[in-house]
Symmetry: C4
Subunit: 195 residues, 4 copies
């Protein structure tokens, strides 16, 4: 019951974040196809961020599913995650409008990094509350991906000062990394969840 | 339970999409009726897109109603659909502000086409999971409308280079096409759903 | 169950409408109190529309509470209502920015009128479905307010061409009219609803 | 059931408020780090308001949890609270863009003050309805924080005319004040709520 509201609020915020990002795709005044050309990098950064927010929503969905009782620390750890996600539209727009140059790419990575840390904290807070033999603790396991991602983001931030495209490639790679294991974790849930 | 959250998130995104579209109706500075004249095409494109989003929401509502258990593929197929719907405000605004000229009309159709494909994929994913003798599989039947619509969109895109108004007429026709059968499918549900 | 989703979607759209209206209160660049002066009419029109949307949400809340089963006609009658409500931010901003001059005031009334008609249609569709001896039919009764309001809006639209402030006074009066009976209807529900 | 919808609507409005605030962080055109410098005060005011909205959401969450039955007065007291919260994006943006100068800081405090009063009214309305021996009445107790905060806001408003930074420090202090006791109240709930 209480959990429902935490999920509903998170869904609301994430739904708005994902939709606000599209507002950076400003409607051009002319009506030729060439008017869309300068929007291409903005569109690509939108696609990347849409996938990232989608991954966060999916994982958040699975993680919250295992929570039996919500308490204050979870509420705040969740708000902390939503805070960093709320900066995605800004960093996405900045990176897109500046055609993936160094500084916007690095700042994009920094917010990805902070969101990953916030997700990790939320996970720890839930496991601390639900117990180390809880469904989530088992499903997460050694969580090598949760630990690897922040390191990859840091690497990408450093490399963005060498060549921003390397950093962007790493962001895409991490997205693919998360896109796949999602299913494996889920199978675990399907095997173990009775309802 | 899990399904609730998928519905809530989709509702949130669709609700925001429908409301963000209206932001393209920029408040004019003067206060005479003539100030509203240039907004008329923007208003008309808003009405058309509002009806399309309404149709998607209604059909999505009925389709999800038949799902018994959500899994990863459904989540991603659903996000894929939401991605294309999230581009509606952009294409609606572009088409409206440029008074239904060729290229914006064609791009509007292209996004309609991709949304239709995404809806079709989501439907296939659900049927593959629920079984070919499921409620949805029966209700959808041969799905001639789901197959006809993308063809009509492609025709409209091609014809928009001849005369954009023909394409717009086709978009209106497809909307009418979907507006009506909705009730027929629903009756099927009403006959078959016990609850 | 199905009804939940209709309510959730309506809540989402209404929540966004109410919040988008506040975006017309554009942040001024200077930092003196006089910077806020030109925003006063925008603020007043926001307050009026906030109360109207609040009334619609409250009444919608009570009306949907009596619905036992949702079907296609209700979904579309509801979308029709949401369409007219979605124009509130535009008409509110236009009326506020032009300091309650004639045409914006008349157009504001026209959208209020259409929303009232849409609400009336939704009410009729629900009663037709639930039966004339349903809870809603009894609670609504002769619905003199639902019939009086559109007439008052039409009067206000006409009078706005004489003096816009008379029209604005009528809008305020109708808001007060609805603010009060809300409680009476509710008592009826409280007496009659077992749960 | 009815309560669900009140919560869902409030969640929607609060989720949008929190996300709309971030729109004041306008994407800069250049791509150097120095482009972000002028955004720093806007960012800081965003962080402060995010925490305030988070506190309101958390407390609202706990307070509504104790309500057994919703009625008209609660709906309107809740809308009244949402109204003042809806002004946060405006005052946050104004204060941030003007680098925490006197008048924007004072107006920011005035809206904080009104929101606190609105929250207090909502609390009173609920307790009046649920009874003085209700869970909420006991948990709230003497409510010295609910009574102290408005006084601190008034003090801050007055002092902002001496030095705006003093006022800002008080806003931060009140946020910390609320951040901590939240847990104490919650423990009370945990001890007393059976479910």
């Amino acid at each position: 019951m209480e959990k429902n509201r935490l999920e509903a609020f998170s869904d609301g915020v994430i739904a708005i974040i994902i939709t606000i990002m599209v507002l950076e795709l400003k409607v051009p005044h002319g009506s030729t196809l060439s008017e869309l050309e300068p929007l291409l990098p903005v569109f690509l950064s939108y696609v990347l961020s849409f996938i990232y927010v989608g991954i966060y929503w999916n994982n958040h969905h699975h993680m919250l599913h295992t929570v039996r009782r919500v308490h204050g620390k979870i509420l705040w750890a969740n708000l902390h995650l939503l805070f960093w996600l709320s900066l995605f539209p800004f960093t996405t727009g900045w990176m897109g409008e500046n055609h993936f140059t160094t500084m916007p790419t690095a700042v994009y990575g920094a917010v990805l990094f902070m969101a990953a840390i916030a997700y990790y904290i939320l996970q720890r807070v839930i496991i601390a509350h639900e117990g180390t033999d809880s469904l989530l603790a088992k499903a997460v396991g050694k969580d090598w991906k949760g630990k690897l991602s922040p390191l990859l983001y840091l690497t990408a931030i450093a490399l963005s000062f060498v060549n921003a495209w390397i950093a962007d490639a790493i962001y895409v790679a991490v997205a693919i990394l998360w896109f796949i294991p999602d299913r494996r974790i889920e199978q675990r849930f399907e095997t173990q969840t009775p309802s």
